[in-house]
Amino acid sequence: MTLLSVKNLRVNLRTDAGRLRAVRGVDISVERGQTLCLVGESGCGKSMAALAMLGLLPPSAEWSADEMKLDGVSLLNAGQSTLSNIRGNRVSMIFQEPMTALNPTFTIRDQLCGVYRRHKGGNRAQARERAIYLLERVGISNARNRLDQYPHELSGGLRQRVLIAMALMCEPELIICDEPTTALDVTTQAQILVLLAELREELGMGMIFITHDLGVVSRIGDHINVMYAGRVVESGTRDAVLGCASHPYTQGLLRSVPRPGVNGLQSRLGTIPGTVPSFYQADPLCPFRGRCERKLPICASQAPPVRSGAGHHSALCHNTEISSIAGNSA
């Protein structure tokens, strides 16, 4: 059974300028043992979509969905206490800013064990054993001594590892990572990515990985949802989306990924001109039309159709054919 299945998720944010439609009908589906990547430029609604699934949206937000099921059980009408029992227990989330994501006035032990005892009960010793085991597992040497340290005594990379350990304290079925490596230096970034991929494998969790870095996606993604202005404009398996990108936006993103150029130099092969629009009104037309190079006259008057191909590969566009072949997208 699909671990997490969300259909037609919408999130509006009340702002001074009106109701900002941050997420406009997004479908998300994650299987056990698989990683779904949400990719897109800053502001396209990735974080809002993730927060909505956990009931963590800011007070100014309102959301709706046609379906939201965790392991077949609907969460649509779940109250805060049900969601709070799920959070950190069956579904965990880690965030972008490891420097500020830990409570400065409590020790690592207090914070890790607190989560465990909140959900699993048990005594101090059990929680402590679990904390030590996980700290070691996420690659923190000298775990026993680290327990009594405070966050400010740890580097950013270590803090992110502690946060990962915290997220895993209760053996969640699903872990949502919202740009967990963006704030770290390149070497640490790579180590954390490898660690997350290993842990997902080892624990058989599902994972939602939010990023704007296609390089990261190609390394850890099984499935990809490319988001643009609150919508999923292309989705499919990693190989299908990265190998046979069909939506002009995905193609533009791929062109803008830096890669080793001639003379071994990193060359940026062009970025997509323009910025992501914000929507305060319902707008069924293609959100990318202002920046699209392949725009057709019909794009300005009719909503883009879903074009699908083999292996659930689909794109939301008037002017594309899904070209991926079945063998490519398994």
Binding site: L54, L56, Q80, S84, N85, I86, R87, G88, N89, S92, M93, I94, F95, E97, T100, A101, L102, N103, P104, T105, F106, G114, V115, R118, H119, Y150, H152, L163, M166, A167
Partner: protein
């Protein structure tokens, strides 16, 4: 930690020394001490005799060292007015002022902390506005006015509480409310601001994402972080109250330090004024040090030499 404490203590002693110099100079230069001692009816010869007898004609430096020597032995001098030792006067007056201060700061905290938390939980709602309104009232209504209103309502109209004196605990209720409600608004605002900021912080989001209960988040994670800046303010306000409130003590006829200070000032009783200023500054030094220590106990980031 120890080094930090010692450093702060050293600094405190320095501050008190400087203040002792200033008060000494004021009491020996601004006003002629011989004049103060001799009383109104003294002749020029009397004054000169006193000057010689008490050594006021010696160099100021010497007099200061004398004064400090006596101070270290606990001798604060004698009141010009009553002729009694200043230390005796202070010991007599201090308990009432201290009780009033404890009750006042307690009242301010009991009102300010819950109100600040509630306001922070529902920012920009009716609840928040109501809390702000209470705070503004507390700050806008002058001490004496609040005191008189309380006396009118609870003392004269309802006759629930005694309106003056300091013979029993209930005598302190109204003055404590009057004095405390003046300190309360600043506290409440600081609690509210701290709480709003903390609740917006990343680590609270982490706690929520980990399913930590709302209660725990508010009172354990939230308040502990939000209260840190409040501690220092409480220390300052408490120090202020321990110095005695002239207005409140006069209105409610409490024979405390504030009342004593007022009496001494109106009659230029320099030794008493000097002693009160010195003691208030000592209280401040001790309280701010205590607040800093408490802060560093609660906030590991400012703990030194762990």
């Amino acid at each position: 930690m120890l080094e930090f404490t010692l450093k702060r203590l050293g600094l405190g002693v320095l501050v008190i020394l400087i203040i002792s110099v200033i008060t000494f100079i004021l009491s020996h230069v601004a006003i002629d001490p011989a004049l103060g001692l001799s009383g109104d009816s003294a002749t020029a010869e009397d004054i000169e005799a006193i000057r010689q007898r008490y050594g006021f004609d010696r160099p100021l430096m010497l007099q200061y060292f004398d004064y400090m020597g006596r101070l270290l032995q606990g001798d604060l001098g004698q009141s010009y007015l009553s002729g009694r030792p200043v230390s005796e006067l202070l010991a007599e007056r201090f308990p009432d002022t201290a009780l009033l201060a404890v009750l006042s700061i307690g009242f301010a905290m009991i009102v300010a902390i819950p109100l600040g938390v509630i306001a922070a939980l529902k920012p920009n709602t009716l609840v928040d506005r109501a809390a702000l309104f209470i705070a503004v009232c507390g700050q806008a209504i002058p001490n004496f006015w609040a005191g008189l209103l309380l006396i009118l309502l609870f003392g004269i109209y309802l006759q629930w509480l005694p309106i003056s004196g300091s013979t029993s605990f209930v005598h302190f209720i109204m003055p404590a409310i009057a004095l405390g409600s003046y300190a309360m608004p600043a506290l409440m605002r600081l609690v509210r601001a701290g709480m709003v900021e903390v609740l917006r912080s990343d680590y609270i989001r982490t706690a929520r994402a980990m399913g930590v209960r709302r209660r725990t988040i508010l009172f354990k994670y939230g308040l502990r972080n939000a209260i840190l800046p409040v501690i220092s303010l409480i220390a300052v306000q408490f120090g202020f109250m321990l110095g005695g409130s002239i207005v409140i003590e006069s209105i409610f006829a409490i024979n405390g330090i504030g009342y004593l200070a007022w009496q001494s000032m109106s009659r230029a009783d320099m030794p008493v004024i000097q002693a009160i200023v010195l003691i208030i500054s000592m209280i401040y030094v001790v309280l701010t040090l205590a607040a800093d220590l408490l802060n560093s106990l609660m906030d590991p980031r400012i703990r030194i030499n762990r």
